[in-house]
Symmetry: C2
Amino acid sequence: MSNAHVPAPTSRREQILKEAARLFAERGFHGVGVDEIGAAVGISGPGLYRHFAGKDAMLAELLVGISERLLEGGRMRIAEGGESPEAVLHALIDGHIDFALDDRPLITVHDRELDRLREADRKRVRQLQRQYVELWVEVVRECYPACTESEARSAVHAVFGLLNSTPHLSPRASLPPRAATEALLKRLALGAFAAAADRERMPAE
Amino acid sequence: MSNAHVPAPTSRREQILKEAARLFAERGFHGVGVDEIGAAVGISGPGLYRHFAGKDAMLAELLVGISERLLEGGRMRIAEGGESPEAVLHALIDGHIDFALDDRPLITVHDRELDRLREADRKRVRQLQRQYVELWVEVVRECYPACTESEARSAVHAVFGLLNSTPHLSPRASLPPRAATEALLKRLALGAFAAAADRERMPAE
DNA sequence: TGTTCGAGTTAATGGCCGTTAACCTCATTT
DNA sequence: AAATGAGGTTAACGGCCATTAACTCGAACA
């Protein structure tokens, strides 16, 4: 019952989560108080407890949520299946870049505050992350059969580090137009993967 | 006076800093108490205050120290000047990789806890970081004149993200031998830079 | 031999902050 | 019109934790 007059597309919960993500990214989980989070959405202090069981619950929902969306997005792009493995890899990269640019704060919090979670949640997040990585590893190995699995996995982690570096760029004033950043990041990622593959290069210094 | 019988090559201060770095990396600055740091070096609790003005002072010394060492190392390698810009870039990459692999905890803390610092220290660290980046940017632009300065800077940040991704690999059991990891990371970094340069690639999906 | 001083110790203090209690106030329902 | 419940409010409470106080102890020094 009551489905026709929800106040807005963004519910209070979502609004709180968004602000919490921003604040956590800026000053760290322990660095921000519940009063601040409340203030950021116009209510103050313990009013948050009408929406969440506690501060930890907000962090948990943020981290589980982002991990799930990343994995689901990845699966979707693979299922859509391009005509070639290369096309799929391109799609994965594009998707991750969109994500990194759209949800910068979440990306930041993602690997900063994992161990502030309760055992159960942390395990779940790690499992989702692992699955996401494995998705990429498979595609990368299809594109570059010369790559060992271990190499592919390391390369995928490294490329995540590369793509997730965008938060470090942001504080700069007058950042270049988004399309340019997207294109550059994509080139960098593809270049890195390609280099991971051919083991014969560079006389080793 | 008294210079001949210091107990060990590693003073108490250094020992404390090392353990603090490890703990900060594992659980975050706010997540670890002074008692824990003390316990890690065999003394307990407030005994630390004989060596440091406070918990903040430890973090400050860690972050300023790492930033200074990185910058100094970079300057040294540039001063030594290889026969070509490419050789210098290789040296910079090798140096950064060694650093990332040797001081994993520090690398982690480096960009995680910057804003827990007092204004003055934070400014100093940021300035050192900026100088280090500019070092790389210059060398990259010599290697790849087709790169705009903005592109080069973004690429450098991204490659730092790539190289600093090693902490994420470590928890994996049976990590590949160090030499292999070094070689792979170097290939990835060089591949990324090369790709940043040639703007004509990939039909852009 | 007595003194100083570096390096610890344990016990108290004080502040911050997450959480809970108790109370309020509109809409909505009946 | 009374009842209900969602969503807030302010005022405690309680625990954790960095820091300080007060005291100890052994070595170097004179």
